[in-house]
Symmetry: C2
């Protein structure tokens, strides 16, 4: 079932059918109707591969995401999808499972399929060397969420430092002086940025950083629960609040607090990061730094299309602003309330 069959059925040449398929204004209305009918009747399926072979420009955008089971990244992908769709492209979405080797294979496979551009949310441990061949190939590429230092591709990152700093300011403003940073893998760029913002916030308030209060863990609910143990196990001056690496950790911290008969938002303040959907409906509703992954995905896709349309553009790096959302999980420290 090809254009030739359609042509035969409609009594025209294959060239005319092709023109109808790309809705060219050259073809007479009556002819178009006849051809369209034949296409419908015969149940013809357009062969995009063949078209692409001749045209050399495809309508496929490759998207490689480190972990789709993490709802932050799933929302990111959905945001991209919106823009990709509305631009008349389709996407090749793949899950790298935080595996650099797997990610490399996926990117290769996508290039073999002739994608028009690629958005990459890199797996942990991705180095500039991994992206070198990509950058050299001239394929438009946008890296999101996690920065890959030393590579000449565009990137779209959230302003983690400012977000963490704002969160600390909020806690300090409530009267907290002993503030922990909980969760996240210390060897990641995002962790480094958020902790840097945390340090800035404390420095601003003239509070010395206690390294014992910076507690790494898996960036998950279980990791957060584990971090609480380490945080409160110390014999010394326990913290009264924690800025968490992300919302999952924050929920874990709440779980851990409850297990110790401490009520989050009353006995201990908790701030998350990301503002995932559950943050609003959880009890207590989570104070968190809203990153809006869906919005970020949209902007990343827009940046990619800008590059695709501009031909060969200079790589640019964008920091998207974040916003502190204050809800019920933060309050003045218990002691100061007793005093007042």
């Amino acid at each position: 079932m090809t254009v030739i069959d359609i042509a035969r059925a409609a009594g025209v040449s294959k060239s005319t059918v092709s023109l109808v398929l790309q809705s060219s204004p050259l073809v007479k209305e009556e002819t178009r109707a006849r051809v369209s009918e034949a296409i419908r009747d015969l149940g013809y399926v357009y062969n995009r591969g063949a078209a692409h072979l001749r045209q050399a420009k495809s309508k496929i955008i490759g998207i490689v995401v480190n972990d789709l089971t993490n709802s932050f990244f799933a929302e990111l992908a959905v945001g991209m999808d919106m823009i990709v769709q509305s631009a008349g492209y389709v996407q090749f979405l793949a899950h790298a499972g935080e595996d650099v080797e797997r990610q490399r294979e996926l990117i290769n496979s996508m290039r073999e399929h002739g994608i028009a551009g690629l958005i990459l949310s890199p797996a942990r441990g991705t180095s500039a060397a991994d992206l070198k061949p990509l950058a050299d190939s001239g394929l438009p590429v946008v890296v999101v969420v996690r920065n890959v230092a030393g590579t000449r591709v565009s990137s779209l990152l959230s302003d983690n430092g400012a977000g963490a700093r704002d969160a600390v300011r909020h806690l300090v403003g409530l009267g907290h002086r002993r503030i922990a940073f909980a969760g996240g893998f210390p060897d990641t760029q995002v962790f480094a940025e958020r902790v840097a913002g945390y340090r800035d916030g404390l420095a601003e308030a003239g509070i010395a950083v206690d390294e014992a209060l910076v507690i790494g863990s898996a960036p998950s609910r279980a990791g957060g629960a584990a971090a609480v143990e380490r945080m409160l196990a110390g014999d010394g001056d326990a913290p009264t609040a924690a800025l968490c690496f992300n919302d999952a950790v924050a929920f874990g911290v709440c779980d851990g607090l409850r297990a110790r008969r401490l009520e989050p938002g009353v006995d201990f303040s908790v701030v998350g990061f990301d503002d995932v959907i559950e943050a609003r409906t959880a009890v207590p509703a989570l104070t968190t730094v809203a990153v809006d992954p869906q919005r970020m995905g949209q902007r990343a896709a827009q940046l990619l299309f800008k590059q695709i349309n501009a031909g060969t553009a200079e790589p640019e790096t964008i920091r998207t602003p974040v916003r502190l959302v204050v809800r019920q999980s933060t309050a003045a420290p218990a002691r100061s309330r007793e005093l007042s």
Copy 2:
């Protein structure tokens, strides 16, 4: 940069290069080495589209998922991905956003790209008519999670009825008599199946179903919280336990109970459905019916490959078993504990 360039560089014909590319045993070791080197040196990228044009069989599996931001479906997709990858295929994963029209476009687009098979987790409201052209085209198709009645394609569904019945048995075994069913959209197949299992379970125990205790809502955390209000608002005999449509609803029910100063797992028993990752680490850990979406995704992909390899197979429907996981959110009703 094509096979011809490689051929020229290596001093062979394009046919030989092609043979090397498909690692044919026909080509001499020395020649293969020379060609492989040229491929590496020139940074050649294989054009899978062109190959597919000639070969007529692609290595792409299309996967259309109703909602990727729902972690149940994200995990399902990741499970499929594992099998697809290890079979040497790549996947075209798309998010339909619960929009039937959008889903239709996605499926068409995938067919135009020449997929070898399709796995569909249908958007709400998908009818047999939507799938008719697909089924007729002879493309191997597997429908997962949500059944589409009256269509001749293979499907893989979880045994919702048995799961709900087991959950009710468990609650009855603990001594509960007033058991609610909370959450979910009543117009969906999955809701119908789970409620049917719930009714069976009650019937088995000789308990009459009180229709006022079957409470629909959005299948989300917020929906669960809302359902609690309706459940406990009645003047009459309040329930002592609830079987929830899914885990998100169950978490919402826990939130709603706390807001009323009732402790889930102590004052009121809650059973979820799906066993999402957070169910294990939440406080209290959730008793739930484990569906194991990742496993289900794997089985769906296996079923699809079975069809692809068998050529034209008879459509088959598989119900995957589910398993009740008892954790801390269920206990004997408060009253019976007082008596003992």
